[in-house]
Symmetry: C2
Subunit: 362 residues, 2 copies
Amino acid sequence: MARVSTPLSEKLGLRLPLIVAPMAGGPGGPDLVAACSAAGALGALGFAYTQPDDMKKQAAFVRSKTHQPFSIDLRVSSPSAPIDPAAQRGALDSVAKYYAELDLPAPEPVRIPYAPELDAQITAVQEIRPRVFTTHLGALPKDRVDALRAAGIVVGGTATCIAEAKRLQSLGYDFVIAQGGEAGGHRGTYLREPADALTGTLALARAIVRAVQLPVVAAGGIMDGAGIAAVLALGAQAAQLGTAFIPCPESGAPKIHKDSLLAAREDDTRITEKFSGKPARGLVNRFMREMEPAPQLEYPAQNKLTGPLRQASGKAGNGDFVAMWAGQGVAMSRALPAAQLIEALERETIAALQSGAALVRE
Amino acid sequence: MARVSTPLSEKLGLRLPLIVAPMAGGPGGPDLVAACSAAGALGALGFAYTQPDDMKKQAAFVRSKTHQPFSIDLRVSSPSAPIDPAAQRGALDSVAKYYAELDLPAPEPVRIPYAPELDAQITAVQEIRPRVFTTHLGALPKDRVDALRAAGIVVGGTATCIAEAKRLQSLGYDFVIAQGGEAGGHRGTYLREPADALTGTLALARAIVRAVQLPVVAAGGIMDGAGIAAVLALGAQAAQLGTAFIPCPESGAPKIHKDSLLAAREDDTRITEKFSGKPARGLVNRFMREMEPAPQLEYPAQNKLTGPLRQASGKAGNGDFVAMWAGQGVAMSRALPAAQLIEALERETIAALQSGAALVRE
């Protein structure tokens, strides 16, 4: 059967040039990663909030399900630091009423360490040795990148502007993920104010393809094979889709998140810092609206603070306090098992590429 | 020689599926329109601020240069209405110091009529009978659309969300221009708050292709043939490019606008209401920054008020007060005569479509 391949998809050992976005927390998870990798895409474990021991367990689970390659993604963020008591009180006060509404015990101050240490996480990656490792929200120093590559790992990084893509290139990264403004979840911006780096996927992916020599993966707003074909036409060597995979039965997202994606309009998303402390795009809900003026902790302490709310709300089937990450392609969501979705995406991509070429008349 | 065609480009009589965006004021103008239409694209006269007599003169000029089809675009906005004296004073006060800085006489109150009447403009379109007529910032009633179509004019309208595209379809429009968030110049939004309708081109164009039965033209962030190929892969039947044509020698934009585009970074644009009263994307400059908190008039009265500033600033080669409209693809700007640019775009589009199909392996 016909398939689509690029130098990058061949290098990574994929059936098709498709990366399923790392989605830390609920939406990703090892079931979805294993299903996607087994079906020929690159599944990606989003380990932003995962401790090294659990990283190893999840990676071992994926390997128990498939021998196909998978990826691990980490966020390059500052280590846990003591939180100023006044900031702590302000942030606790702004969420206390929601804890009460959900019958949760009053929120407790966030104490260090409130997140895994990046160094220990990277050491775990070196032990796990996935085929691919990617970074978000920052870039690793060159010696770190070199060490990972020397272990046979292909290293990618996220860029939301041309300058970040060039930085990754200069640090020895193997490929760049161009994250357009449409993308759901956390903005990967690290050299600018995130609000100043919201160039749309079409413009950004093309500009980055032209600006660097590395293979480019395009992310943001891609929901079907026509979208994949479009970014391949831009010169990207793969597409990265996140939102499209959240409704899959293998995704660990709460049902209310999946149902809300399937019902959403294209302009129902906004960027908020209120769930984690860093800007991320998701469906507008009550928490995002009401918290807009309220104080918050920095990333990732705020994520720790909102964790019980998000989980209780999701379990109760109530979308008010769930971080329902979604990109601007959300109106095109569909609910299919991962393997069927990947098969459809492959078929649609081939059809769109061939229809495109058929527009050329001699 | 090979060329690219779609049902829409054939219907409109174009050599390639390319519309050069209507750009009211300096950047467009009859020289650029004639050059683009003569080269096989669809040139478009942006007549937002143009009186009927001048519309006819400019259309006659284009016809004196080429027999190829061209388009006329109007903005569907409210008629001139008397301006509240307090609003008038506030707006005058906020620009007076800039008038003085440029050695202009003090600004005068904006008086009705400060813009052409839409009815008279539409009557002029019916007399001119261009091959194509498009609307921006609103939709015409069905009887108006029917009358224009009965005169042999193909009628298109701008949509920035799915709902607007469906509205155009229900009103009998022939095609929809999907204006993504990347696009430079005025946002065409008319059913939502413009800030809530900034879906990126990749996601929006695809969602609209899937949501309506009409041919779709994609606009926003497209600067080269790879971008055109990408939107064709999304199922669009043409691409609309504006920013890409502003540096052309045939464009009437001030030199400082052209030079600034060629030097700009991809994230140097912002959306402002300060030049015209309606949100439009352009390069950040001093006027946009300093006017941010200042009062303004409504569209298009504010455009009248800022006119002398924009013109004097442009003539002086000073970009501080020029409305330097630009889309998010601006970092890919190049300076070529229109015919050469169109030839390059055609060549690049064909190459990208064929390279895309070559990724499919049997």
